[in-house]
């Protein structure tokens, strides 16, 4: 008997208990696993609460109005009349407001073209929060466009029939969706063939300043971190998601909007008044402790404030996406390398050394 054999035998009794446990094949649940990241009930309550304070809520619409305007600019490029349009997650119908404002032409002599609303016969604004949706129902812009406000119980399962909309728009809402792939698939279903889905959402590095400084404040004061800023989709993911949902001819682009605030308290107050406060499922409940707030203010200033700036910056990264529902006689992208005209001849330009 070799030494090696002897050793193995001696070691055996210690291992026997491990051998008696049996491993079973884990059963797999049917369907896609659904991750619950955001608490939908909490989000609903936050939106309602924000909208009840009408004055505050209107004051902080600067971001949603601006993004709605930029989103609607993308509609200008589509020379088409839309009979039936859905605004998915309408907030306070910011898109409707943007659609009814005249579009100034880049060339000042040409004046401004008619508002986009003239090309739209009916706009359905859908959201979960009744208070927010009806907040501006008696403002003048409502007369310029046929708006139907639709309070739906849940943004993640749409109560509409397939092939019913000529366009689906969505501005700053779908970053609160738990199951984005499923929602995009539903949007693709309710669209008529060869009709666009145009959306803007917060993504990636949105509020990275607040995220980092709160983490540091949490660590230094409490010795641990709880999530305070939502996880967000990245630009790279969006193309894949749209593709997977069956959209064709995708366009995805990114834009950063940096807003200056006097201090972190003003930033957090504004977020709350927008109804955009934290609604992550597994977080520490209750408000932030005063110690963490105080520490956060100091760290944010130190880490992110520019030398000679008056206030602190907060970055909002917006992801704009356009996808078209597939149709037989839809314009197709040409084969690679089939171009007959050199773009350089049209756009001009020269070599890289500036000649």
């Amino acid at each position: 008997m070799s030494v090696r054999h002897f050793l193995r035998r001696a070691a055996l009794p210690q291992r026997t208990f491990a051998a008696t446990t049996t491993r079973h094949y884990a059963s797999q649940k049917p369907g896609n696993p659904v991750l619950e990241i955001f608490n939908r009930k909490v989000k609903h309550v936050q939106k309602d609460r924000a909208a009840w304070n009408v004055d505050e809520s209107r004051k902080v619409d600067y971001l949603k109005d601006e993004v709605a305007m930029r989103l609607c600019e993308r509609l200008l490029d589509i020379k088409r009349d839309f009979t039936n349009v859905l605004d998915l997650g309408a907030n306070s119908c910011n898109i409707a407001r943007a659609l009814t404002t005249p579009n100034p032409d880049p060339d000042p002599e040409a004046g401004s073209s008619a508002p986009l609303a003239t090309r739209i016969s009916k706009l359905t604004c859908a959201d979960t929060s009744r208070a927010l949706l009806y907040r501006d129902a008696d403002l003048p812009f409502n007369q310029e466009l046929a708006i139907e406000r639709d309070v739906i119980p849940d943004l993640e399962s749409l109560p509409y029939k397939p092939n019913s909309f000529d366009a689906v728009l969505s501005s700053l809402s779908i970053h609160w969706i738990n199951d984005l792939p499923s929602l995009l698939e539903q949007v693709n279903t309710i669209l008529k063939p060869d009709c666009p889905f145009i959306a803007a959402m917060f993504g990636g590095d949105t509020l990275f300043e607040l995220r980092t400084s709160l983490q540091l404040a949490d660590l230094e004061r409490r010795g641990g971190v709880s999530p305070h800023v939502s996880p967000l989709a990245d630009v790279r993911d969006v193309g894949g998601l749209l593709n997977k949902a069956g959209f064709k001819m995708l366009t995805v682009d990114v834009e950063d909007i940096v807003v200056e605030f006097p201090d972190t308290f003003a930033l957090m107050q504004d977020l709350q008044a927008m109804g955009e406060n934290n609604a992550i499922m597994h977080r520490q409940l209750g408000p932030l402790s005063r110690d963490v707030l105080l520490a956060n203010e100091a760290i944010y200033r130190q880490l992110h404030k520019e030398e000679d700036a008056r206030g602190i910056p907060a970055t909002f990264r917006l992801i704009y996406m356009i996808g078209w529902k597939e149709s037989e006689n839809q314009a197709q992208p040409l084969q690679r390398g089939s171009g007959q005209v050199n773009l350089k001849d049209i756009l001009g330009g020269g070599s890289f050394d500036g000649t």
Partner: protein, 59 residues
Amino acid sequence: MPNKTRPIEKFAKATAQCSAEAAAYGKCVVADYNAVQKDMCAKEFMRLKDCYLAASKKI
């Protein structure tokens, strides 16, 4: 409620009067932000908090 200041506004006002203490605390944390530990800057924080408490009494 136009005349009532919200607690957070009061908080912001009091904190704004402690910019020197806040900067000292901020510098302490940011100086080594890859290895932040609990109470790493406790001394600086207590100074900031004392200043804030004193300032909030005056508002």
